[in-house]
């Protein structure tokens, strides 16, 4: 633990505790961050409410984790790769994913897995930790092609128990690839607390098993997340290999809308955690420094609202899923069994 102290740039009151960062916190940067923080939070809440109304399916909220997701995604360059989980649409939307497509994903539509042109955003990995080896391989390909692109891959505290976590990190370290392994330690894997997930007090220390840098940041401090991720990405680009980052955070809500957290944890805890809210913290900072402009903030909120409403409307007007898609994209050229099944099904439907 002592070896892996939590890096913090602003504390819960919004004070800059690492003064050397003070001047790096330009107004433009901080306002951009704040914008994405409220954009992601607004979107998340909208999704929860859409799910309650039955307008999308089961949804995995990230409220509380916005600093981790936004801060790390803002640290990326345009040509980098992003490998998310099902809970990282805060990161993908910040990196440039389309809101409509994210909504479609939660509506059970494959279109939700297709990133905007030129954006290297992989579909969310549902089987836990399986995306870590992918990230190692994609980073190897960038290295082989001689680019300066890096790869970031997201995963949770629970994911660290899977073999793929270990194999992915080991391979990345042996192949010395430009990848950042970004862990959001929200301290729960559904109902299982981190104390039953691992004996170690930190996730960062697992980097010692691969002889790569292990960094532990306050995942509710967007500045710490942003600068540490940037450093790790820079190391990656400079041929210094992979980094493991542990962002210590908390999800306020349920694991998914199908989950009932009252079954396994004290709801008071999540309320208390709001004291360390990643957004409130930036607001305090903005107010202290005198960059808080009620008008501007209001305009920002309205813009975000409008964008999200627009996306929801588009999602709901999106053409219905076409059963043919299920057959047509299994292989580049469908096999005869698939072709035959498609024809049978199509003619059967037409008959009925």
């Amino acid at each position: 633990m002592e070896r892996f102290p939590i890096i913090q740039i602003i504390d819960e009151e919004g004070n800059v505790v690492l003064p050397e960062y003070r001047e790096k916190l330009t107004k433009e940067l901080v306002m951009t961050m704040y914008y994405h923080l409220i954009r992601t939070r607004t979107f998340d809440r909208k999704c929860v409410s859409l799910q309650r109304q039955g307008r999308i399916g089961t949804y995995a909220p990230y409220e509380g984790q916005e600093a981790s997701q936004v801060g790390s995604a803002l640290a990326l360059e345009n040509d980098d790769w992003l490998f998310p989980t099902y809970r990282d649409h805060g990161a993908t939307m910040t990196f440039g994913h389309s809101l409509v497509r994210i909504l479609l994903y939660w509506k059970g539509r494959n279109e939700g897995c297709v990133p905007p042109d030129g954006k290297k955003i992989f579909p969310p990995s549902v089987p836990i930790a399986t995306q870590l080896p992918h990230a190692a391989g994609a980073a190897y390909a960038e290295k082989r092609k001689g680019t300066k692109n890096a790869v970031i891959v997201y995963f949770g505290d629970g994911a660290t128990s899977e073999g793929d976590f270990h194999e992915g990190l080991n391979i990345a370290s042996v192949f010395h690839v430009p990848a950042v392994f970004f862990n959001q330690n929200n301290q729960y894997a559904i109902s299982v607390p981190i104390t039953r997930q691992m004996k170690t007090k930190t996730i960062a220390q697992k980097a010692l098993a691969y002889d790569i840098p292990g960094i532990r940041v306050d995942g509710n401090d967007i500045f710490a997340v942003y600068f540490e991720t940037k450093k790790a990405l820079d190391r990656a680009r400079n041929g210094e290999g992979p980094t493991l980052i542990e962002a210590v955070t908390w999800r306020y809500g349920a694991h998914t809308t199908a989950d009932d957290p009252t079954k396994y944890r004290d709801q008071e805890e999540s309320k208390r955690r709001r004291e360390r809210d990643p957004i409130v913290r930036v607001e305090r900072f903005l107010k202290q420094i005198g960059w808080w402009d009620e008008q501007q903030i209001k305009a920002m909120q309205e813009k975000v609202q409008a964008e999200i409403e627009q996306a929801v409307a588009e999602m709901e007007q999106f053409p219905e899923a076409n059963p043919a898609d299920m057959f047509d994209f299994v292989f580049a050229t469908p096999t005869w069994t698939i072709e035959q099944q498609k024809q049978m099904y199509t003619s059967w439907r037409e008959r009925a």
Binding site: G108, P127, S161, R196, M198, Y264, F327, T337, Q341, Y345
Partner: protein
């Protein structure tokens, strides 16, 4: 002398809990482990209340580590315990595939019976509940092609309890598949306490002479619905709920197919490589001269189980089954 057995009206998932509770009470060596099975009681509440009753040492929340805890359960089983492992969804069993394939299934034969693996792996399976990707697989055939493991798949609360108790008492590894779509679909009277249903025995759930309809798990209600529709058209179907996928109930199947000469199999999984093809092979072997028509299959397609916006198109429906019944009967 009459004995009255108290019964409760339970859903399938409640019957599973009841079976687990019954066996945890009955045998000290039984334990339950898996992700979220403890305080949370499982994501489907299949283990609800068990940790409170039996403690953290017997109802164990494991790390998120299917290979690890399945492997650990093998070690426990070899060393005198009877672990019941929960895989949260069948689509997440694949990381444990090596452990099951190379160890659970082979330790008895490897050691000529010296070490054995009396364990149960429970897993909810199947599509139709609007779950995210990978949560909807029905890949039972990956386990029927694995000598050393039995595969059980009930479709009703009563059968679920009796079969799960048999599975726990079985001296060999049993994969116990629970059709998610049936978890809360209906209730049934389920006796209290312990009773068993023999593994390897199917059940005729409807009597008929015109055509044999074979189904399992979530496809049983689909098959039944189709059979009822067919009855309205004067076609009388013999409907079989397989209940066990390995070993198959040869007698029941052969007897029915020899009687009707026509067969429809309803399978949720992909056509190629599915259990339906084992049934066709059995019919080929034992009923060749009785067959009046080719076997009709109504199956999921040879495509990954689609995202939920399309899953209803993937799943066999009563209409599709009815169509196949008519085809078989009019051949």
């Amino acid at each position: 002398m009459t004995t009255t057995v108290k019964t409760n009206t339970l859903t399938l998932v409640q019957a599973v809990t009841d079976a687990l509770r019954t066996m945890l009470r009955e045998r000290e060596d039984v334990l339950v482990l898996g992700e979220d099975v403890g305080k949370n009681g499982g994501v489907f509440r299949a283990t609800d209340g068990l940790q409170a009753e039996f403690g953290e040492d017997r109802v164990i929340d494991t790390p998120l580590s299917e290979a690890g805890f399945t492997g650990a359960a093998i070690g426990m089983a070899v060393n005198g315990l009877r672990p019941v492992v929960e895989i949260q969804f069948l689509g997440f069993i694949y990381p444990a595939y090596e452990q099951i394939m190379t160890h659970a299934a082979r330790i008895r034969s490897r050691t000529l019976g010296h070490f054995t693996v009396p364990m149960v792996i429970r897993a909810p399976y199947g599509a139709g509940v609007r779950a995210p990707e990978i949560h909807s697989d029905s890949t039972e055939a990956l386990f029927t092609h694995m000598p050393g493991v039995k595969v059980v798949c009930p479709s009703t609360p009563y059968d679920a309890k009796g079969l799960l108790i048999s599975a726990i008492e079985d001296p060999d590894p049993v994969l116990f598949l629970e059709p998610m779509r049936c978890y809360r679909a209906f209730r049934e009277e389920v006796p209290e306490g312990k009773y068993t249903i023999e593994i390897g025995k199917g059940k005729r759930v409807r009597e008929g002479e015109d055509v044999t309809v074979i189904a399992w798990g979530a496809m049983v209600p689909v098959a039944m619905k189709a059979a009822e529709e067919a009855a309205k058209k004067g076609i009388n179907a013999d409907v079989i709920d397989l209940r066990t996928l390995y070993p198959l109930d040869r007698e029941l199947i052969v007897e029915s197919v020899q009687k009707t000469g026509r067969t429809v199999i309803v399978q949720e999984a992909h056509a190629t490589g599915g259990v339906a093809n084992d049934l066709i092979a059995l019919i080929n072997d034992e009923c060749f001269l009785y067959q009046k028509a080719p076997v009709e299959r109504v199956t999921g397609f040879d495509v990954p189980v689609p995202f939920f916006s399309l899953e209803d198109h993937y799943l066999p429906t009563p209409d599709r089954v009815l169509y196949a019944i008519e085809k078989a009967v009019t051949f």
